[in-house]
Amino acid sequence: MSEDSSSSEETNTPTTSVSQDTSTAETTAITTSAFNMHPETPSSSSSFSTHLAIQSLSSILTTVSPSLLSQDQDPAFYLLHNPDISSQVSSLLRLPDSGAGDNNLCRWFYDTFQSSEPQLQLVVLRFLPIIAGLYLSRVALKKPLAGFEAVLLAIYAHETTSRAGQAVTVNVPDLSYPSIYHESKRPAKDNDAADLNLAVISPSLEPHGTVRSTRRARIVGVALELYYSKISLMPVGSKIDFCEFCKVWSGQEGHELQDDEDNVEFQDNQGNADKESVIKEGRIALPWELLQPVSRILGHCLLGPTKDEELIGSASAACKSLYSRSLHDINPHAILATRSLLRLSKMASDPKNNVDHTEIPMSDVISL
């Protein structure tokens, strides 16, 4: 699916090809079921809100042709994957005062997300990396951020509602019980709740009407959790935006990491006394509540099914920066997570680990 999506972003013409049409249909099916809101195919009301969203966006952007409304292609899909729109929106977002409360684009994001139209929400999530990235980096600069905060709070509220505020937990497997993948001498005991070893992936959520500064990282983290859950529907460009911001957030170039033969160890560049060259602008505090969803997203970008070279390059640079930062902060959670990701991505890119075991041995002799 993501393959299709990413490739269709490259074909930036609005002309519909057969392959695009099929992937559009699939996107619809997947997103609607994923959001669990409108299981039926896009109804007239949903397409109405989509058109409304496009109309109001065209008043903000210069080159969104209203003509695309007449396309028989799904307009929400078009919004999500059109590179012209993406680049315009992201350059508008990156303007110095874009986060203000009266910013049109932020308002558009807010309204669009509030439309509860799953596909339109995906369009908002597509720009979440830039919104969250700029937001956190600008906090220290005392720039107006109410617009960004409104969007982030809307996403946070959506997630709080859909989870009913509950924590997301996993049951850590215990090998002394047999499972579908292994046998065990101990008989399976059902409903033995005392033996459950629950681990929290995401703690319970309290409703927040405003962004309290101490909850800022958590609110952005929860928004990133939602982004992660939809990441397979995101165009590659959005994921690359995310990786770029990871580097900015870390405030670390990651150059001092030197690849040993089998290990990723850290070392300073010899003779690089110019420490100030390290990017510090945009460096933010990286508590685990933020780094955990970040690591999950990076894991997908590095080792997920989308084998896009640019994305992998960008993700591995981000991972190096974060690893370097975690070494400087001496943050054990982050060191363990980013270190293992870096090592895995090294192994994945090593050609000797990519042997096709299903290859049929070639021979000139026909044996029967």
Partner: protein, 714 residues
């Protein structure tokens, strides 16, 4: 050996299923050579086709599908995937599948008694035919793969699994077929199918097919099986496509994984147990996947177990200790981590290259616990001694830890001269760190804290302001420091404003702490009523939170640290309340609060201390002394009780002045900034008539009181 046992033999001139008569056409050499160029190639091709032709001619009874299978393979091997596909498409697999299933079932049924020469019922397809056909399907799938038609390829490949699964619902018994290639082909299909779905971008199908491969015993060799398990774990971890187990696979009750990450961890744990038992060889990739997965779910103790289980030789000693220390630190077991890190810096490793990350982690851990101050200094010094171009980056960080540890060491030092030295060292290091790590608010925090503790309030105020700016509200500790510094300047109202502001921004636990700080500030401003109201709010919030947690008893272990923090705050709140009521003279209320506190924590020195204060306020000196001595028997260095004991002793008459003085001197050795101790020393001196000395003591007490923070920070 060519077999013709299918019972439905076709002559080449009358292929029934293919209207285009592909077999006859493709069988000519010209059909085969359509793509190849070059002399060698054409020779090879001639040779091959000749061989094929002659072989086939020899056995004219070769059936139609078999011939197609052979031809297709020939085309496939030559890289003519289009042509191969065309040939394979002429085989009606759907029609043949029941016969193939039947053949396999028959073979299994008669396997044991049957000997080589025994005759199979004539209607049953031979195993050779079956494996030839399975190979044909496999090659068809591979041809489609080569042509990038992954979805079609996956569907074809899936047919092989369908056939084998219907024939062998319980998996492959060991050694089903030694003499033909069926099993080998099948195994290849097993590995190919998920890869094809992955390439087709249909990840849920890929995951489903991995599970199909893994839930039945297919006699894959252990290394290959492990490979499939690893791939499934990887796709579950990184695909971000939630694919829960279908209900028919959830046969294991609670042990059955409920989410991708659970299933991935289960697979990785199974793999690790295979590694541990020697069934498969060590694979760093498995360990790294597991590290990642367990980091995400925060199961660092479990991770530590697996690092410990790794056989010798996989990690060198220092590396293993370091990894373990990281796990234990992440799991909150700092002492265990520190013990390991001491080993890394110990003499057994003196010949190896020094492991700087371990020293850094050691210094960090030591800086968090005053009891390890001196070890922290030695860890930090080690890094500084090794500092060259390789680790310039860490200098700022090291100075920070060094400064914090020096400060902590000063606090536990009993010698005045040493304390002065350590204080100076501490500020030097922290100032140095502040130069090196401008971007780190923690440095500014430590510097401000140290300055406050050393009563350099002006500088501490500046540091605290910078620190709160840098933290941008990420944590309330900056504000808390600022509030305390301001309170030390006796600006209680301003301090309360800072606390109120922080309260607006704080999360739950922080809020509780700030509420207590607010109440203490209200006491300092002599507003006991407001303070009592603040405590009332604090206690009801804690109770509400506790009720909330009681609703999810299964998650209780997750909130362990929160619950502990809440409990400590509640205890402190009752003790504070007892103190207030004692001060305003409502004995009965004070008694209730004391009893509450003692009921919560009988062995808390502070509970006994406030009990003593209550008795003392009622002029029950003996009872008070008993209470203070209980407090001191729990914690001999509990300074407030030492001072209070001295105060009571002073009231008992001049004969106990010397004992009182020795108590006070002891208190000052432990805490030289305790203004009450100075004050009481002054009182004794005054009563003894040495007025000049008394004046000096009073002077000290006054100055210290004017710069005392409202709440101890340590």
């Amino acid at each position: 050996m060519l077999c013709a046992c299918s019972g439905e033999q076709f002559k080449f001139d009358e292929p029934p299923q293919s209207p285009e008569s592909l077999a006859t056409r493709d069988f000519s050499a010209s059909g085969l050579s359509s793509r190849t160029t070059g002399d060698w190639e054409s020779k090879l091709e001639d040779f091959q086709v000749d061989e094929a032709e002659s072989t086939l001619k020899e056995a004219l009874s070769l059936n139609y599908e078999e011939a197609r299978a052979l031809l297709g393979r020939l085309e496939y091997q030559r890289g003519n995937f289009d042509a191969a596909l065309q040939v394979f498409q002429g085989i009606d697999i759907k029609g043949l599948a029941p016969k193939m299933i039947n053949a396999i079932v028959e073979r299994i049924q008669y396997r044991k008694p049957r000997s080589k020469g025994e005759i199979v019922p004539p209607s049953v397809m031979s195993m050779h035919s079956v494996s030839l056909l399975v190979e044909a399907i496999l090659l068809k799938a591979k041809s489609l793969e080569e042509l990038s038609q992954y979805r079609e390829a996956a569907k074809e490949c899936g047919i092989i699994l369908d056939i084998l699964e219907s024939a062998l619902p319980n998996g492959i018994p060991e050694g089903i077929d030694e003499d033909c290639k069926l099993e080998e082909m099948f195994h290849k299909a097993l590995e190919l199918l998920p890869a094809l779905w992955t390439n087709a971008g249909l990840l849920d199908e890929a995951i489903a097919s991995y599970r199909r491969v893994l839930i039945r015993p297919w006699n894959l060799n252990p290394q290959k099986l492990a490979g499939v398990q690893k791939e499934l774990a990887s796709i579950l971890l990184y695909s971000a496509v939630e694919a829960t187990l279908p209900p028919q696979l959830q046969l294991w009750g609670l042990a059955s994984p409920q989410s991708n990450i659970e299933e991935a961890i289960l697979l990785l744990l199974v793999l690790m147990s295979k590694v541990a038992s020697g069934e498969i060889k060590w694979d760093g990739e498995i360990m790294d996947h597991l590290t990642y997965a367990l980091s995400i779910v925060g199961q660092f103790e479990l991770l530590a177990e697996h690092v410990e289980q790794a056989l010798p030789g996989i990690y060198n000693r220092a590396e293993r200790w370091y990894l373990l220390a990281l796990c234990y630190t992440a799991a909150g077991q700092n002492e265990a981590a520190l013990n390991l890190l001491k080993k890394v810096s110990g003499c057994s490793e003196s010949k190896n290259k020094p492991h700087i990350p371990s020293f850094l982690l050691g210094a960090k851990l030591c800086s968090q616990d005053p009891m390890h101050a001196h070890e922290g200094i030695s860890f930090a010094r080690k890094v500084l001694d090794l500092a060259d171009n390789h680790n310039q980056h860490f200098i700022g960080q090291v100075h920070k830890f060094l400064g914090v540890c020096h400060g902590n060491a000063a606090r536990i030092s009993l010698s005045d001269s040493e304390r002065v030295l350590l204080h100076r060292e501490s500020l030097n290091s922290l100032n140095n760190a502040a130069l090196n790590r401008k971007e780190d608010p923690e440095v500014m925090y430590s510097l401000g804290l140290e300055n406050m503790l050393q009563r350099n309030l002006g500088v501490a105020f500046e540091n605290a302001i910078v620190c709160t700016e840098m933290m941008a509200g990420n944590s309330v500790k900056g504000w808390k420091l600022l509030a305390l510094v301001v309170s030390a300047e006796q600006r209680f109202k301003d301090a309360q404003t800072v606390v109120e502001f922080a309260l607006d921004e704080a999360g739950r636990i922080d809020q509780f702490e700030l509420l207590r700080l607010k109440a203490i500030l209200q006491i300092a401003q002599e507003q006991p009523k407001q303070a009592i109201e603040t405590y009332r709010i604090l206690l009801s919030l804690i109770q509400a939170q506790r009720d909330n947690q009681a609703k999810n008893p299964e998650q209780s272990h997750i909130f362990k640290s929160e619950v502990l923090a809440e409990r400590n705050l509640e205890l402190a709140a009752w003790q504070d309340l007892a103190h207030i009521y004692t001060k305003i003279g409502s004995w009965s209320d004070a008694k209730i609060c004391v009893d509450k506190a003692k009921f919560m924590e009988f062995h808390s020195p502070r509970s006994w201390h406030v009990t003593g204060m209550l008795f003392e306020a009622q002029s029950l000196h003996k009872e008070a002394l008993v209470s203070f001595s209980i407090a001191l028997s729990v914690e001999p260095d509990y300074v407030p009780s030492i001072v209070a004991t001295a105060e009571v002793l002073m009231k008992l008459g001049t004969q106990s002045f010397s004992i009182a003085r020795s108590f006070l001197m002891h208190a000052l050795r432990l805490d030289p900034t305790n203004h009450e101790a100075w004050l009481n020393l002054g009182l004794i001196s005054k009563m003894e008539g040495s007025l000049k000395q008394a004046a000096e003591f009073f002077q000290a007490a006054h100055e210290l009181q004017l710069s005392a923070p409202i709440q101890s920070f340590l």
